[in-house]
């Protein structure tokens, strides 16, 4: 063997082996190095607590979110974030109510890209029931409380809704229901339908009803009272009503505390149920009142619950005394006692009513701080009307505590009131001796910690004043007033504490410690929830702009304005925190229903019945149908169509209503109408179009100004008076006019007013335009005053004045007479008549006054009133014939029954100026006030 060769061979082999070995070693070294370096170079991010944001992506329901959603996330690129900050952002986003889920993904380490994955909060579009043909599904839908259409949907609610539905079905006699519920998504990811599949239910027939326990009322009488009988289907809600009826029966027998428990025994194969009613009557309560006529219904409710005997007796005494005082037995006295007999409790009241008195006057003595008139005004005591008392007996005895409270609020903590009575026959003066004591006053008010606002402004925002009375509850109220003051200037988080210190005799130093919060700017206004309504429609109601301070009063006013649009079922405004000193205003709206249909059937009474004769068609049926489509084109406008039909008139009106006119916030109505009506002396067809704008004159007050432009074309199809240039049949009369109206409405209720006043004035100028013939000027004014002169006794006065000038056809002239204007004549018949046909021709001058007094007639019929009235007035053909000495007088009386739409009236009226052949009284049947 050649050693050199071998050496060479081995060397070359060694080199080759060496290089392969080295190659492998390098690879191993690299792998180890990468393994060690990997966690440092390519971290999963957990070891980093804060990151700088390089990019933010927001996705909503799988798509890129619109800008108003992105604006809700209060972070920007370049910002440093941490887990905790992200956690806070997630909670704030969820609290907006817009999202059902929020997830955050991070990509990167020190420079991270964040993705917010949001899912819209779904709302329930429809709730549907399947497999329930004979169930009242609309009613059931209303009875389910946890799930409602147009409300947010949460998964947990479905289980609760299932439980509720099960109970509801049982109440309706459908037992053992198998309910499957599921949600069905719609094209819109924020809306879904909830479906309840009611697969089976069992109905049970009542096999028998047994009544056990204290069957004091005979079994047969109890069973007769019940609706459910043996053999009927068992419906729990009906049984519950039956139990109440049985309790009433027992109560009538004196067992007010009766308890009735029901045991149900269901038998499944046969689907029958046996019911056992266990009656526990408890003691019988007998109430006896001697010495005065006091209704027991006043005292029985005290004993329906299990009350302490002494307490119950005292309650009864107080009620009896109050009842008698109200009737004028001012000095009534009552003694009460309890007698226990076997299973019976007798409550005995011995009443000493004393004499009956009328309260003549209320006199205050020894007062300095108030004058008697001021004190009466503060206590709302009206001056006496002749023969009438201005306060009832029970109110009189409440006056001392009211006077005491009033004085305390004025800084008199030691006021003492003594009541004496000065009797004068059957009348009595109540004399209150008031020892006012010394007044506590505020010597000084200070504000500590106030840097941003002026103390002078803060002083004006509170009720307490230097030199004014000191009253601790008022100081507490002032803390709220100050908090509101700060809120209304955009401050949030302000804390205010008050302290009071006596500085001398009856003088106090009041200090308000203020820790001012931060003043917050509105950065963005974010609108959500509007599917149809345009963004601008909402934005024009918003009183704040980005960059404004978050004034709380403006935010509340914005909410009111949005609600007043009438297109949203819910409006929520929230402030979403951003960086310190800045918030987004989130306006979340829920759009309401847009389509309304209403149908009405009623009666109209234009003619009056002739007294003592058979009525001839005085009451006519009338039908009305109304269709409304709201929020047209998302602008907040409404379109409505109304049709009215009766034997004497037909009317169709189409209206367009919008809250703005050329960008100005004025309620605007565009109407077009067709009508046909038969009146006493003429019948007409009219078609027309009008544009009206209504604007409140003063913010928050019922003072309105309305302007109307009108074009109308009227044809008389029936004319029962002599024809003239303007009064003519079949030849249309066109009128274009502009009118301005002022309305002040300060009544407490539009349909059944008892206090307040109403005033209106309308001036209409009809001018010849667009080939119209009209050329007249018409003024109509009305004033009404309502006064409550005693509890439940109301006096009212109305005056009306109408003046016209120019060419006024019959259908534009004034008419009067009938149940709603002048009750001494039939409808439209006041004033001049056609000499041939004797039908009313109307006039250009009208003056009417109506006086009315209505009062309760039967104490337990609270809505029935008696009325007396006096109407005075006349209608004149021309203004030159207007004569205040030539007015007719009518006197009458009647009954009226109050309804939500006004009183139903039945009246008799005597016109003292009626012709001799028409002296008999007129009978009037009408609904609504005469005004």
């Amino acid at each position: 063997m050649n050693w050199e060769g071998l050496v060479l061979m081995s060397r070359s082999t060694g080199v080759s082996e060496l290089s392969q070995h080295s190659h492998f070693s390098v690879l191993v070294f690299l792998a180890v190095l990468l393994f060690l370096v990997n966690p440092f170079l390519f971290s999963n991010g957990l070891s980093y607590s804060q990151w700088s944001i390089s990019h933010i992506d927001v996705q909503l329901d799988g798509k890129t979110a619109p800008s108003e959603i992105t604006e809700l996330i209060p972070i920007t690129t370049g910002e440093v974030l941490s887990y905790h900050k992200i956690s806070r952002i997630i909670k704030e986003l969820y609290d907006t109510g817009l999202f059902s889920d929020i997830q955050v993904e991070k990509d990167g380490d020190e420079q991270a890209s964040l993705t917010f994955i949001l899912k819209s909060q779904p709302y329930v579009r429809n709730i549907m029931f399947r497999g329930s043909d004979n169930l009242p599904t609309n009613k059931i839908k209303k009875e389910i409380t946890v799930l409602k259409e147009r409300e947010p949907f949460y998964e947990g609610k479905l289980i609760q809704a299932n439980k509720e539905l099960e109970e509801i079905l049982k109440q309706k006699g459908k037992f053992d229901p198998i309910i499957n519920s599921y949600v069905r998504p719609s094209d819109d990811p924020s809306l879904l339908d909830v479906v309840f599949n009611i697969q089976t239910t069992n109905e049970y027939i009542i096999r028998n009803i047994r009544i056990k326990g204290d069957v004091i009322v005979p079994d047969s009488r109890l069973r007769k009272k019940m609706t459910l009988q043996e053999g009927n289907s068992y419906i729990r809600s009906t049984l519950e009503k039956d139990i109440e009826k049985l309790k009433e029966l027992f109560s009538e027998e004196g067992y007010q505390r009766v308890e009735i428990q029901v045991n149900e025994d269901f038998s499944h194969p046969e689907n029958v149920v046996s019911l056992v009613l266990n009656i526990k009557a408890h003691e019988k309560i007998e109430i006896e009142v001697s010495g005065a006529d006091v209704p027991l219904s006043l005292l029985k409710p005290i004993w329906e619950a299990n009350v302490f005997l002494e307490w119950g007796v005292d309650q009864g005494k107080a009620k009896i005394i109050r009842y008698l005082q109200k009737k004028g037995y001012l000095f009534a006295n009552v003694r009460g006692s309890v007698v226990r007999e076997e299973n019976t409790i007798k409550i005995l009241y011995r009443v000493f009513p004393g004499e009956k008195y009328k309260i003549n006057d209320i006199v205050f003595k020894k007062i300095d701080y108030f004058t008697p008139e001021q004190l009466k005004s503060e206590l709302a005591i009206r001056e006496n009307a002749p023969l009438l008392s201005n306060i009832t007996g029970d109110e009189l005895f409440e006056l001392p505590s009211e006077i005491e409270s009033l004085y305390e609020t004025r800084g008199f903590p030691q006021v003492r009131i003594t009541t004496n009575f000065r009797k004068m026959g059957n009348r009595v003066d109540a004399v209150f001796f008031i020892e006012e004591g010394v007044q506590n006053k505020v010597e000084k008010i200070s504000f500590q910690g106030v840097k941003e606002l002026k103390p002078k402004d803060l002083l004006q925002s509170i009720e307490t004043s230097e030199g004014g009375p000191f009253y601790q509850p008022m100081v507490q109220r002032d803390v709220e007033n100050l908090e509101n003051h700060y809120l209304n200037r955009g401050y949030r988080g302000t804390e205010i504490y008050s302290s009071s210190e006596e500085t001398g005799e009856h003088s106090y130093y009041v200090a308000f410690e203020v820790t001012e919060g931060e003043r917050v700017l509105i950065k963005n206004i974010v609108i959500a929830g509007n599917k149809i309504t345009r963004r601008n429609t909402i934005l024009r109601e918003v009183l704040l702009q980005p960059g404004d301070y978050a004034r709380y009063d403006e935010i509340r006013a914005t909410k009111r304005r949005l609600e007043n649009l009438g297109i949203f079922s819910k409006v929520e405004i929230e402030e979403v925190s951003l960086e310190p000193g800045s918030r987004n205003l989130l306006i979340n709206v829920r759009e309401g229903k847009r389509n309304y249909v209403s149908l009405g059937v009623g009666l109209e009474t234009k003619n009056e019945p002739r007294s003592f004769q058979a009525w001839d068609s005085i009451i006519r049926p009338r039908g009305t149908v109304e269709l409304i489509r709201g929020n047209i084109f998302g602008t907040g406008a409404h379109l409505s169509a109304v049709g009215q039909l009766s034997l004497k008139e037909k009317r169709g009106v189409v209206s367009w209503e919008q809250p703005y006119l050329f960008g100005i916030p004025v309620d605007t109505y565009l109407n077009a109408w067709l009508e046909r009506e038969s009146r006493k002396s003429y019948g007409f067809d009219r078609r027309g179009i009008s544009l009206s704008a209504i604007k409140p004159l003063v913010r928050d007050e019922n003072k309105l100004f309305m302007m109307t432009l009108r074009f109308a074309r009227t044809s008389l199809f029936e004319l029962k008076i002599s024809e003239s240039e303007v009064d003519r049949q079949f030849f249309p009369f066109s009128a274009t006019s502009i009118s301005g109206s002022l309305i002040w409405d300060q009544r407490d209720d539009s349909f059944n007013p008892e206090t307040g006043y109403f005033a209106s004035a309308v001036l209409e100028w009809a001018y010849p335009l667009f080939h119209a013939e009209s050329d007249y000027l018409k003024l109509f004014t009305k004033y009404q005053q309502f006064l409550r002169i005693m509890p439940k006794v109301t006096f009212s006065f109305t005056s009306r004045l109408g003046l016209g000038k120019g060419r006024m056809p019959i259908h534009e002239r004034f008419f009067a007479g009938g149940s709603n204007s002048y009750r001494g004549t039939p409808f439209d018949e006041l004033g001049p008549k056609d000499p041939v046909s004797l039908q009313p021709v109307g006039g250009k001058a009208l003056f009417l006054m109506n006086f009315e007094l209505w009062f309760p007639v039967i104490s337990y019929l609270k809505d029935l009133y008696g009325a007396v009235f006096y109407d005075k007035g006349n209608l004149f053909y021309k203004r030159s014939l207007f004569d205040l000495m030539d007015l007719q007088d009518t006197l009458g009386f009647g009954l009226r029954y109050t309804t939500p739409l006004g009183p139903l009236r039945l009246e008799l009226a005597w016109n003292f100026d009626a012709p001799s052949d028409k002296k008999q009284p007129l009978v009037i049947v009408a609904i609504g006030h005469v005004f």
Binding site: Q20, H23, F24, L27, V28, L30, A31, L34, F35, N38, L41, F42, S43, N44, G45, L46, S49, Q50, L81, S82, Y83, H84, K85, I86, S87, I90, K91, Y94, D101, I102, Q103, V104, E105, K106, D107, G108, D109, S113, T115, Y154, E155, G156, K157, Q160
Partner: protein
């Protein structure tokens, strides 16, 4: 296998690992879900970060932990109970500043200053925020204790049962001497009191839960949380 083949195999394996580590690094740097709604309790949010903070600082009752559930799930259930109790009682229960200070000091002792700081930095919170979490936990414990401990009645039978069924077996398992019952009566009483209080509290909690709307979405974050536990 000849040498060449063997070498080739070794190189191939190493190359694969290198590629694996390189690719794995990229994979591990892809977007990861790091936070979200772990649970909703009557529409009040518990985030994943809340859960992690409570677990990290031990702000839960470890004795209530269910054997079958994971730690993170048990912590979530505790947090849900805390929220329910808070909502039920409103803002009416307060803790004194001293009690909270004492608890915070105990935390510092338990973890040590350095570790506590690291934990705070991990979540980007400071002591003020930690104090809020601690206060919620302490208020919850106080409510449970005040509501039930006073009303718990311990009978002699309870004591004997606990002594026989719990104490003696425990001592034997630890190979420690079994003391007479009278010698350790206070400890037995305390243990029975705690057990009975917990049982009553559990019953009350179950009632609250049955009436509440609770949604748990923890499963969507388990990958991230498992990684966290490692």
């Amino acid at each position: 296998m000849n040498k060449k083949a063997k070498r080739a195999f070794q190189c191939g394996t190493v190359y694969s690992w290198v590629v694996f580590f390189i690719l794995g690094s990229f994979v591990s740097s892809f977007a990861q879900r790091i936070d979200g709604i772990a649970a909703l309790v009557n529409q009040e949010v518990i985030t994943v970060t809340d859960l992690r903070i409570v677990k990290s600082f031990g702000l839960y009752d470890s004795q209530r932990r269910s054997q079958s559930a994971s730690l993170i799930r048990s912590v979530l259930e505790e947090l849900i109970n805390q929220k329910l109790v808070q909502q039920f009682t409103g803002e009416n229960v307060e803790m004194s500043k001293e009690q909270i200070d004492r608890f915070m000091a105990d935390l510092e002792v338990r973890f040590g200053k350095q570790e506590l700081k690291e934990k705070l930095d991990e979540f980007g919170i400071n002591r003020v925020v930690l104090r809020e979490y601690c206060t919620d936990f302490l208020v919850y414990k106080k409510i449970i204790s005040e509501r039930f401990s006073r009303s718990v009645v311990i009978s002699l039978r309870d004591l004997e049962e606990h002594y026989q069924m719990v104490y003696i077996p425990e001592q034997k398992a630890k190979q420690e001497p079994v003391k007479q019952m009278m010698d350790i009566l206070p400890e037995i009483e305390a243990a029975v009191q705690e057990k009975n209080t917990r049982e009553q509290a559990d019953e009350w909690m179950n009632n609250l839960r049955n009436k509440a709307d609770i949604q748990i979405r923890l499963h969507e974050y388990m990958d991230f949380l498992d990684h966290d536990e490692q």
